[in-house]
């Protein structure tokens, strides 16, 4: 596949993308407000530029501008986007459309939402090459299989025949990267490609992406909020905040000697200290739990004790019953034997028999904020409802508390009237955390460690008062490394929890 004319002229050192003084505005309350202000960047062929910033910093908007694309409700108000010598903002839509997918590719955050569920992977992978008429179908399929192999997908010869729902989330994200590579683009924009994945899968997908980008000498814009990820991927890093450039430097320089206080604050979270906690009375006691789906036994004799103010991680492979344990604690799946007790009082197996106060004391945080927030309710409705329902707050008292909670998770109070679809992925996750905190619980249950959580928010929830959390996570060396860095996590409890989960495995 070298009949792409651009492939021959590809060599390092030549400027591929040159964004000058770009300002992008979004319409809000009938007025245009800048969401990306006066940003300039250059990208050479084969270079990977990391763009990092917290949610709502304008990263994705900037990333899409490299395709000459502005989302609905946004417009380019100043500056230029010069790709390979031509200003995309001045070219026709037809010209830009031909570049997209062919010479500039885009890999989105949610692969699951980006694939059409009705078509097989292979047909979607080669669609772009076929559309441009670059190659025959047989050659395109051969090429796609090569790419699948390079992305280390299992069984590259036949995996293409599967439908999107038949492969895992990590595999789908890799297939999406393979799809972006089919036309051998000069530039790929990765918009948080691993954020929706759990931590272990994330590591594997990142390795595959890094290798394929290096092998094909493709330039890339890599957008993320995760410092660990960007440090692995990028040659250079740009830090964005509120649509403005904070600083830009080589990865090494940036990591070792950040100049701006904001950058240092991002870095500082990584080295959060563990605080020693005095032993506390058990908040949640789970003893001898058995649970069944129909006649199938999922949990067998699980016992975990959770002291107030501590975090217990339940670690196990997928299918080992981690989420089931969370559902039993929450009362969504009544156990068939054993007991769950909260502060010394036994809880009824089904949530229907539990009192409102008992329900309030344990709050569940879901892995996907997309499906756990009602799309037809505003942030005020979403966060305000637990306040009204559990704490009896009404009117202005409730509104003030909602604003306070949003402030705690570092969301601006103008989001109070937003619908979930108006928020970025990270912002939605923050709203769902604010909703859980709103009920003023004794403990949280986090199903899968939300890797979509920004560092700053992770700190916020873990720092919050004497709250206990149960987190579930996949069984992998990397997980243990990550969990041991979680404050309030006591090595002893960690071991106990793993043992418990292993017991579930050995049913």
């Amino acid at each position: 596949m070298t009949n792409n004319p651009a492939a021959d002229g590809r060599r390092s050192g030549e400027t591929l993308l040159d964004i000058r003084n770009l300002t992008i505005e979004a319409e809000r309350d009938g007025a245009w407000q800048p969401i990306v202000r006066d940003i300039s960047l250059t990208l050479k062929r084969g270079e990977v530029l990391g763009i990092i910033g917290e949610s709502g910093a304008g990263k994705s908007t900037l990333g899409l501008s490299a395709l000459g694309f502005a989302r609905a409700g946004c417009r380019f108000s100043a500056g230029s986007v010069v790709f390979d010598g031509r200003d995309l903002l001045k070219e026709s839509e037809e010209y830009r459309r031909q570049l997209r997918g062919n010479r500039i590719a885009y890999v989105a955050q949610s692969a699951a939402a980006s694939f059409n569920p009705a078509h097989r992977l292979i047909d979607q992978t080669i669609e772009c090459a076929m559309r441009e008429g670059l190659t025959s179908r047989a050659a395109a399929i051969g090429n796609a299989k090569d790419l699948y192999a390079q992305m280390q997908l299992p069984d590259p010869d036949s995996i293409g025949a599967r439908f999107p729902h038949q492969v895992s989330g990590g595999q789908l994200q890799r297939a999406m990267t393979a799809m972006a590579m089919t036309c051998r683009p000069d530039l790929i924009v990765f918009d948080e490609p691993t954020t929706a994945l759990d931590v272990t899968t994330q590591v594997e997908v990142l390795a595959s992406i890094r290798r394929i980008v290096e092998e094909h000498h493709t330039a890339a814009l890599y957008i993320t909020h995760d410092l660990a990820v960007v440090a692995q991927m990028a040659h250079r890093i740009m830090v964005l905040r509120h649509g403005e450039l904070v600083e830009e430097a080589d990865t090494q320089t940036m990591l070792s000697a950040p100049r701006q206080p904001y950058t240092r604050s991002l870095w500082a979270v990584r080295t959060m200290e563990k605080q020693a906690e005095p032993p506390a009375a058990p908040m949640l006691e789970i003893s001898g739990i058995e649970a069944h789906y129909g006649t199938f036994k999922v949990l067998d004799d699980i016992s975990v004790t959770l002291p107030a103010g501590r975090t217990v991680a339940v670690v196990g492979e997928s299918g080992s019953g981690k989420s089931t344990l969370a559902r039993v604690i929450a009362g969504l799946l009544p156990q068939t034997a054993g007991s769950v007790s909260l502060n010394g009082t036994a809880l009824a197996p089904s949530l229907k028999q539990r009192s409102r106060d008992q329900l309030r004391r344990i709050q569940m945080i879901y892995q996907s904020a997309d499906t756990s927030l009602n799309p037809r309710q505003t942030v005020l409705d979403l966060v305000g409802r637990p306040l009204a329902f559990h704490l009896g707050l009404r009117g202005r008292a409730r509104d003030l508390r909602v604003a306070e909670l949003l402030d705690m998770v570092e969301l601006s109070d103008r989001h109070i009237v937003s619908f979930p679809s108006e928020l970025s992925g990270g912002q939605k996750q923050r709203v769902s955390i604010a909703r859980a905190i709103a009920a003023d619980p004794d403990g949280f249950i986090c199903d899968e460690i939300p890797s979509a959580l920004d560092q700053l928010v992770q700190e916020q929830i873990l720092k919050r008062g004497p709250t206990a959390s149960v987190m579930s996570a996949p069984d992998h060396p990397y997980t243990l490394q990550l969990l041991s860095a979680v404050p309030q996590m006591d090595a002893g409890w960690l071991d106990a929890a793993i043992a418990g989960s292993r017991a579930a495995n050995g049913r």
Partner: protein, 297 residues
């Protein structure tokens, strides 16, 4: 839009589009077909409401000795087979045809929508029972079934309304049930039950807002079907009974004149067609503005 301030750091900015503002913003985006549709619907509604004021003669008054007279100043659209004024009957017909169709559709929605959502969140046995019932009713060709029932119960206006409403409720039941099932499977419903919310809250606040745009769009289309069914029944002679004026009946009574090049029988037919098309225009527009989940557009 109101901005109220207390001492920092907690500051509340509250603004939200009211229903009126939202509608005004929606109308700004409306195309000419939408405006045409709205105008036609309002015209029909005005005719139906103010029929006695607008019509030159009474609904069933025989005002001329000459049946089937041509268009004249006294009788702008001529007279029918008994010497009644066609224009007056056309105006009163709006009241009967449109009014009855509207009431029928509303009943069908209340019945089908409520049962559909209930069925979606009910235990399996109740869901199976209700679905089975709806499927059985749907399996019988609607018009023939309606004819049989009308023959059994007599074609009074209440029985027309009830029979057509129940028959159409089956379709609405299916739509409401399947869309509510999709919503009920979402995690935010689980969040609500984890909070301890009752069934009423889950239906009204969590599920209904998510399926309402679909139901309203269906309301427009279903209204057209009901309207056409009633007109068809009247045309067949089992619908609205004389001397009440009805567009379906009017088409039948003067149908033979089409072969003589008289366009009078086409007028009630045209009124039916125009209203049907207009409702579809407005439904399209509504779907367009209601599908976005944004406050700021």
């Amino acid at each position: 839009m109101q901005t109220s301030q207390t001492s920092p750091p907690v500051r509340i900015v509250r603004y939200r589009r009211s229903r009126m503002e939202w509608l005004r913003a929606g109308l700004r985006k409306a195309s000419w077909t939408t405006w045409l549709g709205l105008a036609v619907i309002l015209l029909h509604a005005a005719l139906a409401i103010f029929a006695p004021l607008l019509a030159p003669y009474g609904e069933a008054d025989v005002v001329s000795n000459e049946p089937f007279s041509a268009w004249s100043l006294a009788f702008p659209l001529g007279t029918d087979q008994l010497g009644r004024d066609v224009l007056s009957r056309l105006i009163y017909g709006a009241r009967n045809s449109v009014g009855i169709a509207f009431v029928t559709t509303a009943i069908a929605f209340l019945l089908g929508g409520t049962l559909g959502i209930l069925s979606a969140i009910s235990p399996a046995w109740l869901d199976h029972l209700l679905s089975g019932l709806a499927d059985t009713l749907m399996a019988i060709p609607q018009l023939i079934f309606a004819l049989i029932l009308l023959a059994l119960f007599g074609s009074s206006i209440p029985s027309i309304i009830l029979i057509i409403a129940v028959l159409n409720a089956t379709q609405i039941f299916r739509l409401a049930r399947s869309s509510a099932r999709n919503v009920a499977a979402m995690e935010f419903i689980e969040v609500a039950s984890l909070r301890g919310e009752g069934t009423a809250w889950v239906i009204v606040r969590e599920i209904l807002p998510n399926i309402l745009p679909m139901l309203i769009a269906e309301f427009g289309l279903r209204f057209c079907f009901v309207f056409l069914t009633i007109s068809a029944l009247s045309f067949l002679g089992l619908g609205i009974q004389p001397p009440s004026a009805d567009w379906g009946t009017m088409v039948r009574e003067s149908a033979t004149f089409i072969s003589y090049g008289d366009i009078t029988p086409l007028l009630p037919a045209a009124a039916i067609a125009l209203l049907t098309i207009s409702i579809n225009f407005v439904v399209d527009w509504f779907l367009d503005i209601a599908s976005g989940l944004r406050n700021d557009q």
